[in-house]
Symmetry: C2
Subunit: 229 residues, 2 copies
């Protein structure tokens, strides 16, 4: 099991959950820059913003990493209307990411599902760690982004198998602006990442995540090469 | 959200995870007998024993309950050889269920994945509870059947959303023989449930779960109407 048919021929040290958004793409390159042997997993919830998944493919390919896209689009039908805007049930709200309206973008229990599958991958490949890019701005809106939830998931991951897996959130104490700064230092092509919830040809510039993204570049003092509508 | 298009027109009180095996089928009928409004979720891991899924359909249909089958067969490809016998990689071992050889039947992190999705369903449908049929004989073999794992999952489920979901394991302190006794008392057609890991036309009678099943009927003093090869 330890030796496999990946790019490196060795067991990965990290299974990185990468959406193709800014935070997770920076995290991915950050992990690689530290010498980790990384494999990438992306989850497809049948979102409107499939452009994000293309960005994840692009990042994994650029770094020469094994990449699996896990199709969870069945959750939409399963939840039958309880899935929120990301599963295409209601209109994506405009406004600031931290607004009440953004609660509509929650896919019920997405983080537990995503982390559980990533931990399964880590167990199967004997990787000691799963990493994802939760940051300090997330937990006000999404209950399953709160630190208390993440700690509980970490306990579950360590108990799930005789092969213990830890869940790391390297950016958990950082703001999005700090993540942009790291991305800039590592020369991550951040304009190739995708944040917009609307999934047009270019970023809309007005939805919650676009507003948050623009603010982060502004606060970080990093030039934003993203094309906005 | 509370009112929906199910059989009853009301929100469920329990989302029951039913494999179609003996334990979960008895649990399902037990929950219904106590007046719970139950919806059934079955997970398809691409196992060899699809007969088990047919048995779950049969039980849900007999009781007139909404039933969703969630296709998780993609885990086999995702895990690439790390999935164990249930995903069709290695031969199913004969022998006693509690033997070392039965470790080959583990699907990495299956319980966390299954429970996380069921909790997502419960959140989406405003059900307060997920139930599954872990019993006292499970936890020696499967790390994710241990009580300590289940407690950790319960914490995760309660934190995952502002709508709190509990995870119940009503048979956790019981032996399989005690479950057979409950099934007998409730007149559950237990011979229609499926245990065999080999998935032939009839139960093989010799694989680990068949041996365990036969023992349970014998110990319970209940006539076993199952047809064995």
């Amino acid at each position: 099991m330890a030796k496999r048919d990946g790019n490196t021929g060795v067991a990965p040290s990290v299974i990185a959950i990468v959406s193709g958004g800014l935070d997770s793409t920076v995290m991915l390159q950050w992990a690689v820059s530290r010498g980790s042997v990384v494999e990438v997993v992306t989850f497809d919830y049948g979102q409107r913003h499939r452009r994000e998944i293309d960005s994840a493919r692009c990042a994994a390919s650029r770094l020469g990493l094994r990449h699996d896209v896990v199709d969870l689009s069945f959750l939409g039908a399963l939840y039958r209307g309880g899935g929120g805007a990301l599963l295409g049930d209601v209109a994506v709200p405009d406004g600031h990411y931290a607004d009440e309206s953004m609660k509509a973008t929650v896919v019920p229990n997405r983080n537990a599902i995503m982390l559980s599958i990533a931990v399964g991958v880590a167990i199967a490949r004997k990787a000691p760690m799963v990493a994802y890019a939760a940051h300090a701005g997330d937990h006000a809106i999404y209950p399953d982004c709160r630190p208390v939830f993440a700690s509980a998931m970490d306990v579950v991951a360590r108990l799930a198998d005789w092969h213990e897996v830890g869940i790391e959130r390297p950016f958990v104490a950082m703001t999005k602006a700090q993540i942009v700064r790291i991305g800039s230092d590592l020369s991550v092509p951040m304009h190739q990442t995708w944040s917009c919830y609307k999934g047009g040809d270019v970023h809309c510039g007005t939805c919650g995540t676009c507003v948050e993204r623009r603010e982060a570049f502004a606060v970080a003092g990093v030039e934003d090469l993203t094309v906005y509508a």
